[in-house]
């Protein structure tokens, strides 16, 4: 994929994260109640809306974060071949996605 397309995806995931993380922060921290209590967690875990929400948040967050990290690594250590950086981050991203997606899916 070209650098321009990767950058446009970075913008799209950035806008998406602003909305998704904003919602997550409002629900988890600013809306009162006990959002981290086990009952509240169990209630959200049984909802297909929250499952889809967290998976989407995970995909957007992983792409945005790892692409940002790639930019910093390639810019700061230009001797490193870009393909090595790309494949390392893609592998890490898939592993983190597998682990992090398993948690809400197994609780659903």
């Amino acid at each position: 994929m070209s650098e321009t397309r990767l950058k446009i995806l970075q913008y799209i995931t950035g806008i998406g994260l602003f909305l998704l993380v904003g919602t997550h922060l409002i629900v988890s921290h600013l809306s009162g109640g006990e959002p981290t209590a086990w009952e509240s967690i169990a209630e959200r875990a049984s909802s297909s809306f929250w499952l889809a929400f967290y998976i989407l948040l995970l995909i957007f967050g992983l792409y945005h974060g790892l692409h940002g990290l790639r930019t910093i690594i390639i810019e700061s250590i230009p001797r490193l071949p870009a393909k090595v950086v790309d494949w390392t981050l893609v592998t890490a991203g898939i592993a983190i996605f597998g682990y992090a997606a398993y948690i809400p899916i197994s609780a659903f």
């Binding site: 600013l30 682990y99 992090a100």
Partner: protein
């Protein structure tokens, strides 16, 4: 300039990480870039830890409540606020960068009259609007965290 980077058609990054601290006599925008990267890396570290902690949910109610009792301590509350503040800065500054990269807030081209002002040294009102919005939101979230 026989570096690998210049052979590939890129300019070599001579300053490296040191350039994050001092890149030259530029305006505030040059240093907002540094803060954008630092907040981005901090958020990435936080998200990694957050995802690892979520795994405690698989251990059942006792394991989860033990973890939450640790996070109820005041030191963690301060950390939680700093994460929210980093998110506010990163999101709003990211929006400004997006608008500038796409050319919407660069300003109109001007004739090259001495003393020359290049794009990096031009002062743009959007920076101050963004900083004021960040301050307002950070104070709002602080009040919400405290009360």
């Amino acid at each position: 300039m026989g570096t690998k980077a210049s052979e590939k058609g890129h300019l070599p990054n001579r300053l490296g990480i040191k350039g994050w601290v001092w890149g030259g006599n530029y305006t505030l925008e040059r240093y907002l870039y540094t803060l954008h990267r630092l907040t981005g890396l901090s958020l990435l570290l936080y998200v990694t830890l957050h995802l690892a902690m979520n795994g405690f949910r698989l251990g059942g109610v006792e394991s989860w409540e033990d973890l939450m009792s640790v996070f109820g301590m005041s030191g963690f509350k301060v950390g939680e606020y700093l994460v929210a503040a980093a998110f506010i800065f990163h999101a709003l500054n990211g929006g400004r960068l997006m608008l500038q990269h796409l050319g919407y807030t660069l300003g109109k081209p001007k004739p090259p009259v001495y003393p020359y002002v290049d794009s990096m040294r031009r002062r743009r009102p959007i920076v101050w609007v963004m900083l004021a919005s960040i301050m307002a939101l950070a104070i709002y979230v602080l009040v919400a965290f405290v009360t």
